[in-house]
């Protein structure tokens, strides 16, 4: 266990590079490490990190990913999502893919799930890795992202072949075992959907133990023509669970992407959700809900990069900040000069429930083409007093009225979850939260 200082990180890096002699991975890691050394951990002076003091996470000691964990099937049971028996389940413990705890139920010709190391050595996949692993670095020139890349190790590669519509959703559980020590976990994955493939992916995060966890995740997703990718993220971890997540989705053929990111609990949470539209005619729908209590800090940075014409994106993020929580929303939309006939919509709506809660919201539209339809809007307000009184005047008590209004507010996002059991699960979490909060 040690503080994440440069000397310690260098030592860990050298050990990893010499112990895993795969040329491809070594190169990617080497590039990541260079970036890390060049730019370092961002401070608040970095515009992208202005409201999220991530450098604070580097002031304490963690044990690094390699640690053996006591997590077993029974401990995973406590975290399973509904209908897990009819899902593919991938388990990461302390950032490392654990095949023994994972349950792959789809047939091998429907989906390939192997470790990144195996994929790099497999002639069927090494070219895909060569072409696509680490592409997100172009967009995320910061030391946090670079740190993950420097330590690509124990990651996972998921491949959905052409025309396969994977019936079972893929659940990914990220478990941080902090029973002994605080843990730094750096999961890494590359998901590849070949032409006309379909995949539903759900990620969730749990800390087993009461010490701090710091999850620094990078997931890169490549979506080929006619493919459909649905992505859901549920963050409902303990108050000392911190994370920086990057979900970097590249649409390399005319395809459809749908994302919903739900943050209900945790410590300092930062989500980078990027959609890069590399071909004409792409479509993406992005939703987010952050419903916060206690001291949770939730920061959603989104990016839609329209690199080609005729793309469509629609984005709705909603936040409810209670207690001493802080919300951050930053939504970037790029429209490149050649990307004409773009439709890009963005909306961010926030409700502050307490005097100590706050939110920063920042739309950033950078439009270099002239024939585009873009709109954005953001609101920050309190609960609608008129509506509250209307409900109360019919005999509904103040607490329940408040819960009804918040549920209605949240529902605009929750209803976008197309996996029914997951949607109901999250609805229940929200109902329980709202009725507890109110008592």
């Amino acid at each position: 266990m040690a503080i994440l200082q440069t000397a310690y990180i260098e030592e860990k890096f050298d050990t990893l590079q010499s112990s895993h002699p795969n040329v491809l991975l070594n190169e990617v890691r080497q590039k990541g490490f260079q970036t890390y050394q060049n730019v370092g951990i961002p401070s608040y002076k970095n515009e992208e990190w202005r409201y999220t003091p991530v450098s604070n996470l580097f002031k304490q000691s963690y044990s690094f990913s390699e640690k053996v964990s006591t997590i077993n099937q029974a401990s995973v049971d406590a975290f399973r999502l509904p209908d897990s028996a009819t899902a593919n389940e991938l388990v990461f413990v302390n950032g490392l893919y654990n095949p023994l705890l994972s349950n792959i139920r789809s047939a091998a010709n429907e989906m390939v799930i192997i470790s990144m190391e195996e994929a790099a050595n497999d002639i069927r996949f090494s070219d895909i890795l060569k072409e696509h692993l680490g592409k997100s670095s172009l967009y995320l020139q910061d030391g946090i992202h670079a740190l993950n890349t420097s330590f690509i190790n124990g990651g996972v590669f998921v491949y959905v072949p052409k025309k396969v519509q994977v019936a079972l959703p893929l659940y990914i559980y990220h478990i941080a075992d902090t029973v002994q020590n605080p843990v730094l976990a750096q999961p890494r994955s590359l998901i590849y959907l070949a032409e006309s493939a379909e995949l539903k992916l759900v990620e969730t995060y749990k800390t087993a133990g009461s010490s701090d966890s710091f999850t620094n995740e990078v997931m890169e997703v490549v979506v080929a023509g006619n493919a459909v990718f649905e992505y859901y993220k549920l963050q409902n971890d303990i108050a000392v669970a911190n994370q920086v997540n990057t979900t970097h989705i590249r649409q390399i053929g005319k395809s459809y992407v749908h994302t919903v990111v739900v943050t209900l609990d945790g410590g300092m949470v930062r989500n980078n959700t990027n959609i890069i539209m590399e071909t004409p005619g792409n479509e993406a729908h992005m939703y987010g809900l952050y419903l916060l209590k206690g001291n949770t800090h939730a920061d959603n940075h989104t990016l839609v990069d329209n690199r080609e014409p005729h793309c469509f994106s629609n984005e709705l993020y909603k936040g409810v900040m209670d207690d001493a929580t802080t919300g951050v929303f930053s939504g970037k939309i790029y429209v490149r000069p050649q990307a004409q006939k773009i439709n890009a919509y963005q909306s961010n709506k926030n409700i502050l429930l307490s005097e100590k809660a706050s939110v920063n919201t920042k739309p950033q539209l950078e439009i270099f083409a002239d024939d585009v339809k873009c709109s954005h809007g953001c609101t920050i307000g309190r609960l609608d007093e008129e509506a509250l009184f209307y409900l109360r005047s019919r005999g509904i008590d103040a607490a329940q009225a408040k819960a009804m209004l918040l549920q209605a507010f949240a529902n605009d996002v929750i209803e976008k979850i197309k996996i029914e059991s997951l949607r109901e699960h999250i609805e229940t979490l929200i109902v329980n939260r709202l009725s507890v909060q109110i008592s």
Partner: protein, 253 residues
């Protein structure tokens, strides 16, 4: 059932009600008229328990209880119902769920079991017919995108569902077309009984023709300056408020 004594109420430090007295017995219908801005809706809000309005003086007794000590929801459960002049749109909250919650909260308060889904639907159906409201409206969010008239009908539908002891209709007639007015008025008449009472706030005679109030009061500059029987409303319809303003305007400033 309701006894208002010398009520003074202010909002944002500005006194709007300047000593209202009003007694209402079960079975009675009282009309309150008066020029715009005289304080009619303010009185309704004070009765319903809107917290922005500060009651600075006076007392209100409702069914033997000190009403000013009750929260808005407690007043509703005791049997007060305000049909809003401007019903609020609440996106995302289903009308049916909302009414079901309201009804069951009230039942709970009175020591009754909640209505199950079947009994609730049966009751809904019955009351829907009473106020001739379109079923499709009730599947939508509360008042969201309703036309002015639909909103008013929905208020009366809620009244029918909740069976209040005292109803305040705040300009429920405004925005209704002739047929809707007749339907709403006959709905209200069907809900009348010797045990409940109604306060009708209105600017027009037409609703009063249907409801035949026992008393008519004129509210002007925060006071009830004239009370009478239903003939008073006819006089007002005929002559307007000028003579009242002349008589009372100067003394109240």
């Amino acid at each position: 059932m309701l006894s208002i004594q010398n009520i003074h109420a202010a909002i944002e430090g500005k006194e709007i009600l300047k000593g209202i007295n009003l007694d209402i017995q079960p079975g009675e219908v009282h009309a309150i008229m008066g020029p715009n801005g005289s304080g009619k809706s303010t009185l309704a809000s004070v009765l319903a328990g809107r917290e922005e309005y500060e009651v600075t003086e006076g007392s209100i007794e409702f069914l033997g209880k000190n009403m000013l000590e009750l929260s808005p929801e407690e007043r509703a459960r005791e049997g007060l119902f305000l049909a809003f002049q401007y019903p609020v749109e609440i996106p995302g909250v289903s009308t049916t769920n909302f009414i079901k919650s309201a009804l069951n909260e009230k039942r709970k308060y009175h020591g009754l079991e909640p209505l199950d889904a079947v009994a609730f639907l049966k009751l809904m159906k019955e009351k829907m017919q009473l106020v001739e409201i379109d079923k499709a409206l009730l599947t939508r969010s509360v008042n969201e995108g309703f036309s002015g008239g639909e909103k008013k009908k929905n208020e009366i539908f809620q009244m029918a569902m909740l069976e209040p002891k005292l109803t305040i209709l705040d300009e429920t007639d405004s925005g209704l077309d002739i047929d809707a007015l007749r339907i709403v008025a006959s709905g209200v008449n069907k809900l009348r009984s010797k045990d409940n009472a109604i306060i009708v706030i209105t600017h027009y005679q037409r609703l009063l023709d249907y409801l035949q109030p026992d008393f008519v009061h004129v509210l002007y500059k925060g006071r009830i300056v004239k009370s009478g029987t239903k003939e008073l409303a006819l006089t007002l319809e005929d002559q307007g408020y000028d003579y009242i303003k002349e008589e009372f305007g100067a003394t109240t400033i």
